[in-house]
């Protein structure tokens, strides 16, 4: 047992310059000045190698292998203007669009995130009831359909681009009515935008509402 616990074996290899730790000239502790120098050099090296070199290398590779998503999955209008990103929700509260989740920050990306009221805070119930009432009055949802909670509850980012298929499908009557399309054709349109779970078990089925709405406007021609 003590053999196994002796000093680390240093003779198992021909000592390369940077290995081994017991040469006699190395026994004296470094002075304070040399520690300060070492710390400064470490910071400078880190800035060059992992601060600058590392992201630059990755950016170079990313430009080659996936320029679209590496640039932020941007969406362009036909005239080339950037209209948004597939990964960032927007305010879609128009009758002819599918609404995404409510945002107390008005979908601001600059505010960064939102803090919905705590679980036992009465303000949470009030906020939900307010959104539910609005949804029932103006949402023109499927008659007698239950509203999925996700459609009326705030997310963490405040600009969640995704929704569950049920929360999108429940809005079909309103969109059909506002765009003049039939319920069946709008339903079919939504169905073509449902991403099923990967391999059938990874993740939920979901709809990217940003992609859906921009495609919807292009399809129906009804837009702002």
């Amino acid at each position: 047992m003590s053999g196994a616990l002796g000093p680390p074996a240093r003779s198992s290899e021909p000592a390369s310059p940077s290995r081994g730790a017991s040469a006699s000239p190395a026994d004296a502790p470094q002075r304070m000045r040399s520690h300060v120098r070492a710390a400064v050099v470490i910071v400078v090296l880190a800035v060059v190698v992992v601060g600058l070199g590392y992201p630059a290398l990755l950016t170079g590779v990313a430009d080659l292998i996936s320029p679209g998503t590496a640039g932020g999955s941007l969406l362009h209008a036909t005239n080339g203007t950037v209209v948004g990103s597939s990964l960032v929700g927007q305010n879609f509260s128009r009758p002819y669009l599918f609404w995404d989740r409510p945002s107390t920050n008005d979908y601001s990306t600059t505010l960064g995130y939102e803090t919905p009221p705590g679980p036992t805070d009465p303000a949470l119930r009030a906020l939900l009831n307010e959104t539910i009432a609005y949804m029932k009055q103006y949402g023109n949802l499927t008659v007698n359909a239950s509203i999925p909670l996700v459609l009326v509850s705030p997310s963490y980012s405040g600009f969640d681009p995704y929704l569950t298929p049920e929360a999108v499908l429940v809005q079909v009557p309103r969109v059909a009515n506002a765009t003049g399309e039939s319920i069946a054709s709008v339903t079919a349109f939504v169905n073509s935008y449902i991403t099923p779970p990967l391999f059938g078990f990874i993740g939920p089925a979901y709809v990217n509402v940003v992609n859906l709405d921009y495609a919807l406007v292009a399809w129906t021609g009804v837009g702002p």
Binding site: P7, R19, A23, N91, G112, L149, V152, S155, Y156
Partner: protein, 568 residues
């Protein structure tokens, strides 16, 4: 309804991590001992030049005082560098969004936060952090803080293998942690994240003109490379304020699962590194078992509380909850997947967030607190395993006294000096958390921060949880946050910086001191009375000790906060 199929991928990721951990742990063990390791031919000449630049003799092995000094001086240099960048970022180049400089107290909080692997942010990255400040300042701390964590734990472990009182060379350990572990893996991880659709560009923002009017700023940057090391080094400070809940940093379920794997890989490998370093591979077993027991029970409880939902909400007529409890959460991910990400993030002391912790159910909040109380199941890179090892020494000591034998571990006597440092370490944790919480109330600061009501400074249980979470997260160097709390103030910035620095460096010094005490001892031969640590009994004993000690230290405050909210 809960679909059991959604558990499959979570189990798969865990199994992959657990299959990789022994190999990776063995590699780590070789990197940090003097045994030949994979990549020696490539790295040795490079490291030789780096050591020359740094001005250290790699053969020089430091004792406790010098190792500690090197650790503190290096960390101080990182703090100063980030502090300067943050204060002056408005006048420095590479600030395309015209971000103003930070106030000195916020800059100090930020510098301390990233240097201590906490990454608790009192700022909103989108509007208060420049591109240059992020990658040239904070990003180097993502690497170096994880590196110092690894360095300290390997020095601690060397105490069991040496008799000359030395712990190794701090600079060698730090450099190797970055060159041989963090940098290559971060590059691999970032490549995968790029392929999964994360932004990777030096454009810091794009202005978009949505069809419904107005202007939307799409914040970009080298997000993939940042996120990779953020998760791998258990840092947790997101490129975006919403962290992993901003879908730009986490576009698909696959990216969420991959990031979870990145968070867990090094913390789960460290017990195996320990086994390799002390040349007793089986000694990893009680640790990996203890970590798994606590982690899996926590994950199960978290999922259970999120599944039963929020009783305080009562009935909402005409509304259905299907699957995941959605309030404060993104739509991406099923209940097991989001819970797995969040529990891993908190229990590995990463602190990345996929959900608003202030909005999840009280039971799940309680589970989150407990992960930061133990700090060690599995805990952050290096320090987490170090704390677990200290718990184990306490277990060995108490166990030895109970059977009336001299307590010993791996052939080294566990004496009262080691126990004194261990006790200091374990008690410092509640101290750095609870003292500032009390100060906040006594000084009346709960009024502006939480909206407490005069004259009794009354706060409700949720507000108390928010305040407790602030300091718990900082004290455990976790970095996740529960809001809303107005914490970008002079008091919270300075108190937070102090809590993070003490919560990081005091336990590190204690670990080095314990390692140094062991390192000075001659090994004693094992006898029939030696406590068998690689056993089922010891594992259970260690687990119970960990839960009871962590639980007892914090039970009163948990009762005031989340516990009083469970069940409405």
């Amino acid at each position: 309804m809960f679909d059991p199929r959604s558990l499959i991928d979570v189990v798969l990721v865990l199994v992959v991590v657990l299959l990789m951990a022994p190999f990776f742990g063995r590699y780590l063990g070789r990197v940090f001992t003097d045994r030949p390791a994979f990549g020696d031919r490539f790295w040795n000449p490079i490291e030789h030049q780096l050591f020359r630049l740094i001005g250290t003799n790699p053969r020089h092995s430091m004792r406790f005082k010098e190792y500690t000094l090197a650790l503190l001086v290096t960390s101080a240099a990182i703090v100063l560098w980030i502090f300067a960048l943050m204060v002056f970022q408005s006048s420095l180049p590479w600030n395309p969004n015209g971000i103003p400089g930070m106030s000195w107290d916020l800059a100090l909080h930020t510098a301390s936060s990233f240097t201590t692997n906490t990454d608790f942010t009192h700022f909103v990255a989108e509007s208060q952090l420049s591109l240059g400040g992020a990658i040239l300042g904070l990003q180097i701390a993502l690497f170096l803080s994880a590196g110092t964590g690894l360095a300290v734990v390997v020095a601690f472990i060397r105490g069991f293998t040496r008799q000359d009182g030395t712990l190794g060379n701090f600079y060698v350990d730090l450099v190797r942690a970055v060159t041989r572990v963090l940098l290559p893996m971060a590059i691999l991880g970032a490549l995968v994240l790029v392929a999964m659709g994360l932004p990777q560009t030096f454009t810091s923002s794009v202005t978009a003109y949505p069809m419904t009017g107005g202007v939307q700023t799409i914040y970009l940057g080298p997000v993939a490379s940042w996120t990779s090391i953020e998760m791998l080094g258990t840092n947790g400070g997101g490129w975006y304020a919403a962290n992993a809940a901003n879908q730009l940093a986490n576009p698909t379920v696959l990216s969420m699962l991959f990031q979870t794997g990145l968070m867990l890989l090094i913390p789960f490998s460290l017990p195996f590194m320990f086994g390799q370093m002390v040349r007793k591979p089986n000694e990893a077993n009680p640790y990996i078992a203890t970590i798994l027991i606590v982690f899996l029970v926590a994950l199960g409880l978290f999922m259970y509380f999120q599944y039963i939902g929020n009783p305080a909400l009562g009935a909402l007529p005409g509304v259905t909850i299907s699957g995941n409890y959605p309030i404060g959460q993104q739509s991406l991910g099923t209940l097991p997947e989001t819970s797995f990400f969040q529990v891993s993030s908190i229990y590995a002391n990463v602190g990345a967030q996929e959900m608003a912790l202030g909005s999840i159910t009280p039971g799940a909040q309680m589970v989150s607190f407990f992960g930061m109380f133990t700090q060690s199941t599995p805990g952050g890179v290096g320090t987490g395993f170090g704390v677990l090892l200290v718990f184990s020494l306490v277990a060995v000591f108490i166990g030895g006294l109970m059977v009336g034998r001299t307590p010993e571990y791996l052939g080294k006597r566990v004496g009262k000096d080691q126990m004194r440092w261990s006790a200091f370490l374990l008690i410092s944790h509640p101290a750095v958390i609870l003292v500032p919480v009390v100060v906040v109330f006594l000084a009346g600061l709960s009024i502006p921060a939480l909206g407490a009501v005069r004259p009794n400074l009354q706060v409700n249980a949720h507000q108390f949880s928010i305040l407790l979470y602030e300091f718990t997260s900082e004290g455990a160097n976790n970095g996740s946050a529960m809001g809303p709390i107005l914490d970008n103030t002079m008091f919270f910035n300075l108190a937070g910086a102090a809590v993070m620095l003490v919560g990081r460096f005091f336990p590190m010094i204690a670990m080095l001191a314990i390692g140094s005490l062991f390192s000075r001892e001659e090994p004693i031969p094992a006898s029939t009375g030696t406590l068998q640590t690689n056993s089922f009994t010891f594992t259970l004993y260690l687990t119970m000790l960990l839960i009871i000690v962590s639980g007892l230290l914090f039970l009163p405050v948990i009762a005031l906060g989340p516990l009083s909210q469970v069940g409405g």
